[in-house]
């Protein structure tokens, strides 16, 4: 639809242009885009409907709805635009992308990311994602990341035996034949959990309130 940053700056709502007008225009754009994107598909006849028939008409209807919405918004007014946060969307998207490109090797044309497995991708998503909130505190997120990752590795890797990559591919090849993979997984889980719990103890000593919060969470993870 429309670009989040293109709406209005964070803070006060802009009242002179109604929400519905912009939403309607967005829908029109989406509809036109849909018509364009399905333009090269044969539409066929009723007896032998082609692949383009339904999407084409649905896209047209989307645009019509958008037009109606924009008109009602224009005539009747309505709610103003809401403010958009920028930090949240940007950081959360980055965190999810970080997970996606590190969990296993991904190729973008000539570039291939190294597959680092859950042990890296998990904490990356948690810690990076945590910064979407202005209340983020690094140590707290680190503890959460370590304990959650340990829990997930145990659950998905060991108990459920899912083929989700746990370790960096390079590490797996290096350890191949030296340590059975199960043992390596359990050792890593133990190490992560120990570091996490150690940090948690330190944290609790310094600040009791934050500590209890984390403890509750780790218990349920």
């Amino acid at each position: 639809m429309s670009d989040p940053s293109g709406g209005a700056g964070p803070g006060n709502a802009v009242s002179w242009v109604s929400q519905n007008v912009v939403a309607g225009l967005g829908l029109i754009l989406l509809g036109v885009f849909g018509v364009w994107a399905t333009g090269d598909l044969p539409r066929g006849t009723l007896g032998a409907m082609g692949p383009g028939m339904l999407p084409h008409w649905v896209a047209v209807c989307v645009a019509v709805c958008g037009f109606a919405l924009a008109v009602t918004g224009f005539v009747r007014g309505g709610e103003g635009l809401q403010s958009f946060g920028l930090r949240g969307p940007v950081v959360v998207v980055l965190a999810i992308l970080a997970f996606a490109v590190t969990i296993r090797p991904v190729s973008f044309g000539p570039v291939t990311t190294p597959g680092l497995g859950l042990i890296v991708a998990g904490p990356l998503a948690v810690i990076l994602g945590g910064y979407a909130s202005p209340e983020a505190r690094f140590r707290e997120l680190l503890i959460l990341a370590l304990l959650l990752t340990a829990g997930c590795m145990l659950l998905f890797g060991d108990l459920l035996n899912l083929p989700i990559p746990i370790f960096p591919t390079a590490l797996i090849e290096a350890a191949s034949g030296k340590i059975p993979s199960r043992v390596m997984l359990r050792l890593a889980v133990g190490a992560l959990a120990l570091i996490g719990l150690g940090l948690l103890l330190l944290q609790r000593r310094s600040s009791r309130r934050a500590g209890t919060d984390v403890a509750r969470h780790s218990m349920t993870a």
């Binding site: 390079a170 090849e173 191949s176 034949g177 059975p180």
Partner: protein
């Protein structure tokens, strides 16, 4: 900087790798390009179990779905040929795919080291209960005479029922109306209800309905009758000997496997398909276990080549003819 670091790290690791000489040292991933629970997945899980026992390392199934199985096979074909990534290919991914997917990133006959055939599931020609024709010959005549008024169901472009169905049509020279379904289940439902007239599909999908008497079977496209459907004649007996087709599943590895690794995998698969328990489970499903002449990598390579040659013209013309 980072690549330099990675390279040096990798070379150190490679040195370690060379030190560990006996394959396999860690679990082997078998990529199954279809969803868990489908016929290919079931076959893969059945053979993976005895293979794990022979190799002394677990063979883990990874289901990578998408694009008629080609997503998973593409990914597996690009894995390093170290024997730790193998895959379960089938008639679609290694036979029909080149005709159906224009931008296919692998060549079924050239991008792989074949390991061996795992199992086949025979194709049965089935029709709605109310179909008047008493045998295959008169059924073929009826389909030819009916032209576009006959409705033939299939489970989507690229599915086994699609490929084998259009092969049937081109063989007998008929042009029925194709009715498309998402998967075999809904297609069978409409066949039972008499909404469509006939289809061709794998025995495992249609056997219960045939024995239950809700649909009619005209012939099975194998040289011998199947123990699960002893009353259904073969296409040879019924007068259409050229219609010989089976949805096969076979194990492949990415091209460039070290000879000793390959030999171990071939031996493991061979033991697996001779394992009485695995055999029984495949036969219970109505499947067939490869005979000695069909087993092994060389026979598989030949099979792939002949299948690609067989499907390409049939499917190309079918896809072009259908608007």
């Amino acid at each position: 900087m980072r690549t330099a670091l990675a390279i040096s790290l990798l070379s150190v690791l490679a040195a370690f790798g060379a030190a560990a000489d006996t394959y396999p040292q860690r679990p082997i991933t078998m990529v199954v390009p279809f969803a868990a629970g489908g016929p290919t997945d079931v076959i893969a899980r059945i053979v993976a179990e005895p293979m794990s026992r022979v190799l002394g390392q677990q063979v883990v199934i990874e289901n990578v779905t998408g694009a008629g199985g080609t997503t998973g096979i593409t990914r597996a074909s690009q894995a390093s040929p170290d024997g730790y990534t193998i895959m379960m290919g089938h008639m679609g991914t290694h036979g029909a795919a080149p005709a159906l997917f224009k931008g296919l990133k692998y060549d079924p006959a050239k991008s792989f080291d074949p390991i061996g055939l795992a199992a086949g599931t025979p194709i049965v020609i089935v029709a709605k209960k109310g179909m008047a024709a008493p045998d295959l010959k008169s059924f073929v005549e009826a389909v030819k005479a009916g032209g576009a008024s006959i409705n033939q169901a299939h489970a989507g472009v690229g599915s086994v029922s699609h490929s084998t169905g259009v092969l049937f049509d081109s063989l007998i020279g008929a042009k029925p109306t194709l009715v498309v379904y998402r998967g075999t289940g809904p297609a069978l439902n409409d066949l039972m209800a008499g909404q469509v007239d006939f289809m061709t599909d794998q025995i495992v999908n249609v056997a219960p309905q045939i024995s239950g008497g809700t649909i009619k079977a005209y012939a099975i496209a194998t040289p011998e009758r199947s123990p699960s459907l002893p009353d259904v004649p073969t296409t040879k007996e019924a007068g259409l000997p050229d219609y010989q087709v089976s949805a096969w599943n076979a194990v492949f590895a990415p091209k460039g496997l070290p000879a000793d690794v390959r030999a171990k995998l071939v031996a493991a698969l061979d033991t697996a398909i001779k394992d009485p328990n695995a055999r029984k489970r495949i036969l219970d499903l109505g499947g067939t276990v490869p005979k000695d002449a069909e087993a092994g990598p060389d026979a598989l390579q030949k099979l792939v080549e002949s299948e690609v040659a067989r499907w390409t013209p049939v499917l190309r013309s079918a896809v072009e003819a259908n608007p």
